[in-house]
Amino acid sequence: MARPGWAYRNRESYWLNSYGKPALTLQTLEGLLGDETMTRILRTYARRFRFAHPTTEHFIATVNEVTGQDWRWFFDETFFSSGRCDYAIEAQNERSRRIEGWAEGPDGRLVLHPVEGGDRDDETGPRDSTVTVTRRGEVRMPVDIAVWFADGRRVAESWDGKDRWRRFRYPGAKVVRAVVDPRRRIALDVDPANNVWVEAEGAARRAATKWAARWMFWLQNLLELHTLLG
């Protein structure tokens, strides 16, 4: 992104790296820093370099100065990288593992734990859950994670996003919805559709039949239009 306009491979590459990606990068920076800090950065930058010819380095120096932190890593990941940014989330609910039958108790003596009858895949039993957040692209960004449980609780997590994945475990709780970057701070995420996981499977089936029926209707009419030419 930080190269002269004439050095791009083609017009599409120039357009993408000069307009689309810089806008999304600055929006992401604003998401991470907050609206107030970003305004101060832009105000300082605009006042300091008005009627001048600032470079990318001048902007990075302004960001570091206003925030009082080193944000070089952010620009290395965005301005000076062609990597993709894509975080995804998956969750799994499993039946809680319990001790059944004879087993050692806390004092070392054998204790009989009751064996529960019925179907082991019973939907009503207690659940252990895992939520896995994956970094599918090369760009590393800190992300927030929000997890909703069947009992109405909500948990907020955070991850520095440096590894390829991070797993969160929730014993005795069933996850119904999990979202990575719930406040949509990472505007650079190329696939926001995989940022949300929902437990309900019925929605996918109903949505699929609804839209496939509509597409089929289009196709039926297209077939019928063929008769005009025969």
Binding site: V179, A193, V196, A213, N221, L223, E224, L225, H226
Partner: protein, 334 residues
Amino acid sequence: MRAVLATLGEGFRSVARNWGLVVLLLAVNLGLALLLAVPLTVQLERDLAHRGASVDMMYGFDHDWWSRWAEEQEGFARTFGPDILGTGFAFRNVDLLLRGHLPAGLFARRTRADDAPSDDPVVAIDPAVLALGALYLIAQAFLAGGLLGVFRTPQGGWTFRGLVHGCGFYFARILRVSLLALFLAALVFALNAPLSRWLDERALAAVSETTALALGFGRHALLILVLILVHMLSSYAKVIVVREERQSAALALLSSLGFCARHFFAALGQYLAVIALLVLLLKAWAGVDARLSVSGWTSQLLALALLQLLVLGRIALRLGLLAGQLELNRTRGR
């Protein structure tokens, strides 16, 4: 005008007496469409499973999800997009017709833009969809003889065996008529290409926006009108093949040309009346469709019934026109 209404009225009465034929044609149409719709359903369900977009897609249309999903698609699934919503399907289909993609992409102009891979699902219409269309055209050529044979009998009534016999008996002749009609359509598209270029240049050079729009719409309207005339010739040729037991498709087409020239306004009036009815049907359907919020299974069933009703109505109009043409040829033909 009276002849148009009388013959069309008789045509629709004939269709009403043989309403099972409309259902049969709907079954053929639906059966072919299901060949691609079922795999799409499975794919959509798999791709939406556990996605937050599944809920959004259930209640509305998640454009973000779709745009990302569409980028990854190969084949006929690429043709799924929000432009088929509401009456958008009709505009997309007419657009495909005018660009020459029907049937089987035979008449599409090979420009540099078309050679390059395109993201536009209309331009990049999938070969599977085009092949299905070509198959449908052959199926309709097969059925035409049987249908005309049924409409020829004044008392109505038909059997499946009798229908299939009529279809097989006239199939070769009617297929030849259809191929000749396709050749005429090819000529129309070949002549249309330089005319379109010339009119587009005039439209680009036009000072007034109104002139540019009139030229653009005018050339499309002209193409549709000429295609209707080709269909009229082909349709009356099929009627003549069945009514007069003609062997030669070329002579039947010539006879059809003579008949259409002698009764041009009555023949064209039938088309205009059927198109007007089709527009009314589409408008009524769109009015109901816009008020139906589809999410659960009950509303989905209702929506599906509504969609199929429109296709059924469209097929009934086509058959009504065919029976009306038979009636006009019977009353006015030599």
